[in-house]
Amino acid sequence: MNRQTLFEKIWDSHVVHEPRGKPALIYVDLHLIHEVTSPQAFEGLRLSGRSVRRPDLTVATVDHNVPTIDRWFIKDEISRRQVEALKQNADDFGVRFYGIESDRQGIVHVIGPELGLTRPGTVIVCGDSHTSTHGAFGAFALGIGTSEVEHVLATQCLVQKRPKTMEVRVDGALPRGVTAKDVILGIIGSIGVDGAVGHVIEYTGEAIRTLSMEGRMTVCNMSIEAGARAGMIAPDETTIEYLEGREFSPKGQEWEAAVAEWQRLPTDEGARFDKTVVISASELEPYVTWGTNPGMVVPVTGRVPDPKSLESESDRTAAEQALRYMDLTPDIPIQDIAIDRVFIGSCTNARIADLRAAAGIVQGKQVAATVQAMVVPGSTQVKIQAEEEGLDRVFTDAGFEWREAGCSMCLGMNPDVLQPGERCASSSNRNFEGRQGKGGRTHLVSPQMAAAAAIAGHFVDIRDW
């Protein structure tokens, strides 16, 4: 019997054409579009007189540019033009569009799953590196550039070299206080920010199986932060339960047929990966990044590392540059680092389960006087749900700002930015120099750790909360 991995099953069922010695042409089941990486692609179609091959498999929303307060009129004229261009393009080419006024608008990687557009066994692309999020459902989901966006619009296919496979197995149960965010930060800290380049990761093991869909999305979301082409988790009962009854999920007989298909997807016993990494869940802790990429990470109980302790010269230089940018000195305890801002949001950690967990930390407490904190739901649906549950009041009573849905302060493209020198505890995915605003300093943590830091004014261990 030919034993196959989850990835291989999806790949093989999507190859349209694979000429010898050339990359494959693979079929795309869902193409998600947002305002930043699509205008040049639509312009390309216009210039060459091409149309969108499958507008019914293409869905557009606005997220990167939208303000999270006063969003009905975008003051930044260039941002406004970009948002308007997407609406125009969606209209002209017949693509379904969820604009600012829609109650289905939100971060593209939050709305795909919540609307039931994301499904197991499919190929999903978007001009956005965090498309890896959708792999949580057992899909092959990958970020592409704008030229490739144009290619998918025109042909519904992607030219792709078959990536290698990598299993990341997290054995054992997660200790109390260790979240999905800590799992992925621990993995990246262990394999490095280029540890999975050229590979598709499949996350396996007990610690992964017991995660909620939201937790699995957090893990898969940051696969790109380890350099992976995509990340994925085999579908199971948790996946099926999440998808049943969602707006665009298959219904009736179609649902039955789909579920039967999805149950055949998990990696066969004995199938081989090109590479396997095993991590013990019991060794994972709540993590805080100290540097300028997500691999520069230590447990909250740890200290800022001394670059001198690193082996290679390039790593030492990188650590020195990072500490200079972050204005940190070696050996200080992580919990002594005071923060100015807290951001709970982004496609990594702004789903309903994340907001519930963070609200649980801040309930009845007050944000430190020295801290400005905000919560930005990942989608308008998440915002509505959170308000029904009263989570908005928990946050605002504690002194957090409660905003409208969008990418917000994850990437410094809209009015939500750090000022130069400001230090932020953030539930987002990238701590690159200037990522949250020029000169801003980002520490990546789980939403629970961000919430606790907002109250304490510095990093604290949520296991002691």
Binding site: G21, L25, H64, S147, T155, D194, G198, E261, R430, G434
Partner: protein, 203 residues
Amino acid sequence: MEPFTRLSGIVIPLPRVNVDTDQIIPAQFMKRIERTGYGQFLFNSWRYLPDGSPNPDFVLNRAEYEGASILVSGRNFGSGSSREHAVWALHDYGIRCVITPKFADIFYNNCIQNGVLPVALPEDRVQELIEKAERKPGYRLTVNLENQTIYDSEGFEDAFEIEPFIRERLLRGLDDIAMTLQEEDEIAAFEATRPSWLEPAKS
């Protein structure tokens, strides 16, 4: 796309590892809907001081490197965001070839789409080139895609690997979409086999 065959040019050294696309072009410059004009924003945060004046210490601001077309940097170059704007900024600035020990996957594909040649060389060879370009500003390299070699006038010479298909594409400046549209029959045949549950259900 303009074909890439052979390039001889000044080398810019960027002795850093993990240069991410947020550094190549920060997000605030991605609001434009055009494909051109991003060169002025290339490496913005390193290139300009907080007051907006050029940072005299940054390599792009040194007169000896003016007109450079080759960039050499540390491993995992182009990591992070999928933004093709990063390659548009490099290309618009004049860079036609990037040399590093290891490329991030999406950035690599974006280079190919824009006729920028990505060359992967071993770590020690890249270090050697960085040192040469730092020691002697204005240092030049020649990259020949036809025979996959890279050399200078002082005896440095190396061969590099590239997928034959990608080499062919760059040499001829081919457009992926036009090639794929020739497979129309196969795409349509594949489409006919897709199960109906793959269509989005009506809400």
